[in-house]
Amino acid sequence: MANSSATAHTGNHYLNHSKGLMSWLTTLDHKRIGVMYLFSVLTFFLMGGVFALLIRMELFKWGGHNLLEANTYNKLFTYHGAIMVFLVVIPSIPAALGNFILPLMLGAKDVAFPRLNLASYYIFMTGACFAVLALFMRGADTGWTFYTPYSIRTNTTVILVLFGAFIAGFSSILTGLNFIVTIHKLRAPGLTWDRLPLFCWALYATSIIQVLATPVLAITLALLCMERIFQIGIFDPKLGGDPVLFQHFFWFYSHPAVYIMILPAMGVISEVIPVFSRKPIFGYKAIAYSSFGIALIAFIVWGHHMFVSGQSEFANFIFSLLTMFVAVPTGVKTFSWLATMYRGSLHFNAPMLYALGFLELFTIGGLTGIFLATLAIDVHLTDTYFVVAHFHYVMVGGTLMGLMAGLHYWFPKMVGKMYPEKPALIAFWLIMIGFNITFFPQFILGAQGMPRRYWSYLPEFTLLNRISTVGSWLIGIGFFYTAHYLAKAMRKGEKAVANPWNALTLEWQTSSPPPHENFIETPVVTSWPYEYLPENTTMPVNA
């Protein structure tokens, strides 16, 4: 599709362009910033993951008092949620992979505002430091949703976590702003809107949500901070305020945030499936537009988190109806991916495995979403383990599978080495099986009535909880193993060629790893990025 500039590989690339810690900490190179995000996000993922394992350990036996005390347990699930949502899942694909890949995919030298990009990273880390600092003080025990008035009354250091999330939010806003302008202004010659790779479309839709929704979260968290410092009373029923108003404000951001998490993963899957099926993507326009359909609906369905909060029946009617329509664009994407595989020539390298895993888990996550969108059904299921299982299928099954697919897909580009295929296969099955063992029983637990955020539970829920805990160990082993083989591959992996997957998007038309300014000469685009002809079914890496 482009004038290849991969030929002039001189051995000089972004990793050895300049040396030393300071050259990384002060870099304006989007690739290095992406790598720094990736390592930070993975560190927080380790933290959040360990918390999750501790939570599951406590739930191995009914009645509490197994490993943790109630207050410790409450802090751990708060931290698990807050870290995973604000510091892992939201920034994982856009800020880490997106930062690295987006300019390369566009044929640009960098993002539009490189200094702002570095500033966003430091803002993110500052927010993260505040949140983590609270851990060493009195912690926070409100749940990641910070519902009032409990979050006003608790004597834990919830204010630091609020402040951390507030600051990290600005990083999200500025990254979104940067990406929108980059996509508008820095596309290579010939890269028209109808040739834009679907990952870029997905990041574009995501950025719009980040820019429009995050400021509302910022002001909400700021109000809650003021509530704790000056007792302003906006959300405090004792002072005439309205605690349910907080939920409206919170979900006005946090529902779109769910799509900030899932849309980029969908973008990754839309790249991986055609490449490994050696076939054009099915329904390019439908997939691109459905991202915007999802982004639009994202802003008008927040009330579906509040069907039993006491909002009016009419509001519930509207929110339930609108929520149903989320399933339509989501279904369009799912069926299009499936149709892309039809009559393809399928290669099962790790990225494709994770894409298939995504399809399986996301289908379950999506279908159970319909249960929760249905008014009467939600009344029984909301705030139970059914909801916990549902959003883990979407966020872990969706976003993390997307992240793993993208990480393996672009690993050769990022570090110039291949990951080993066999360990990746083993880790994939560990994570997949472990995930289903952990979370599928939670659907049944929820339907049976076990509420979420329970430190101790009744004896009849023991068996399913135990199965779930055992599953969590498999996931843990799978991820630790992945960290191990990827770390090893970084040092000793086989050298990667410029385009190991024989893919058509621009990031593969430059050397691996790319040179300091991405391309030796500006690429010129002459066709769309999914032009896989019937004979073009081989990949260098599998040859």
């Binding site: 207050n71 076939k279 099915f282 029946e313 319909i370 999914y530």
Partner: protein
């Protein structure tokens, strides 16, 4: 067969609504299985049918407006149908009949109190008539709670500063579990209660302050549940301490106190009786009958050193028989 396939995954059907709810739930499960098999089954078929081998060619397909129209139109219609069904069941959940028996419920960290029109008050258990609509009018004294009865498939948040309500018609006699479903702090998972659905005879007896026999868990075999006795209203076949244990559990003491030596929000009761206890202001008291009684009825007066004065008063909520049984039970915790 289709309607019973997932019965094991849902609780007992304890109300009219639960029956309607289960039909819709079963339909959604079957529908999900259909789409799961369609997508993941299709995917697995493709994985085997179209795997790469040297020399393989693909077919150049970029889309089909016909297929797209189908997979937009069919789900849209299905979803509208599901929405309508879901809303109609929900609507009947919200419309309490005007002749419903009203009970007022108060949530506070971490117990439920129920007040009846006849002036009675119960903690941790709500007595309701069988086969008659009952409406709970609820509020909270502190933070958000949520009143959740799995057997009836209903749930409603309880918000400080406002009243919310929930209604049901219990169709199965016995005790139905109640959970707090909105996170409310340390003992959120200990904030339990029971709805006790009484038949006409028992309801009559309860309203006339007569003793009730053993009330079993809803759905369990009546004869095998004779050990599960309802606190004060028990015919004295078991020891006073055993009766006290039932009071201890139903009044929610376990949310904050333990009987095995672990410290929760409040001090443990193991080995309490007869010991010397230091108060927050430094004075030392001997834990005797009077000590326990004053700490139940007026807990703010003397707080045990190292604990916060957060316990609510139970004055008027525990009658004399119950108090005697309770003290006997705490005395038995060596």
């Amino acid at each position: 067969m289709f309607n019973q396939a997932f019965a094991g995954t849902t609780p007992l059907q304890g109300s009219d609504i639960a029956v309607q709810w289960d039909s819709l739930y079963n339909f959604l499960v079957w529908l999900s299985i259909f789409f799961f098999v369609l997508v993941v089954g299709g995917m697995i078929y493709f994985v085997f049918a179209y795997r790469h081998h040297p020399g393989k060619k693909t077919q150049y397909i970029t889309g089909s407006h016909f297929l797209e129209a189908i997979w937009i139109a069919v789900p849209t219609l299905l979803l509208l149908g599901i929405f309508t069904w879901g809303y109609s069941v929900y609507h009947s959940m919200t419309q309490a009949p005007s002749d419903a028996y009203e009970i007022r419920a108060i949530g506070k960290q971490w117990l439920w109190t129920f007040q009846y029109d006849n002036g009675r008050t119960t903690v941790g258990e709500a007595y309701v008539p069988l086969n008659r609509p009952v409406k709970l009018i609820m509020t909270s004294e502190d933070v958000l709670h949520s009143f959740f009865i799995p057997n009836f498939r209903i749930k409603q948040d309880v918000v400080p500063g406002m009243y919310s309500s929930v209604w049901f018609t219990a169709t199965v006699p016995g005790k139905h579990q109640v959970f707090c479903a909105e996170y409310c702090g340390t003992s959120h998972s200990g904030m339990l209660a029971k709805i006790i659905a009484l038949n006409d005879e028992q309801w009559e007896a309860w309203n006339n302050h007569k003793k009730l026999g053993a009330i079993p868990e809803a759905g369990s075999d009546f004869s095998s549940s004779s050990s599960d006795l309802s606190a004060s209203r028990v015919v004295a076949q078991v020891s006073l301490a055993e009766q006290g244990r039932a009071v201890y559990e139903t009044k929610g003491c376990l949310a904050c106190h333990s009987v095995d030596g672990t410290q929760k929000v409040g001090p443990t009761h193991k080995g309490l009786f007869g010991s010397s206890v230091e108060m927050a202001d430094g004075k030392v008291l001997i834990a005797d009958e009077n000590y326990i009684r004053t700490h139940i009825e007026n807990p703010q007066k003397n707080t045990v050193k190292g604990f916060n004065p957060v316990m609510p008063t139970f004055k008027g909520l525990i009658n004399e028989t119950e108090m005697n049984a309770l003290i006997a039970y705490i005395k038995s915790l060596k």
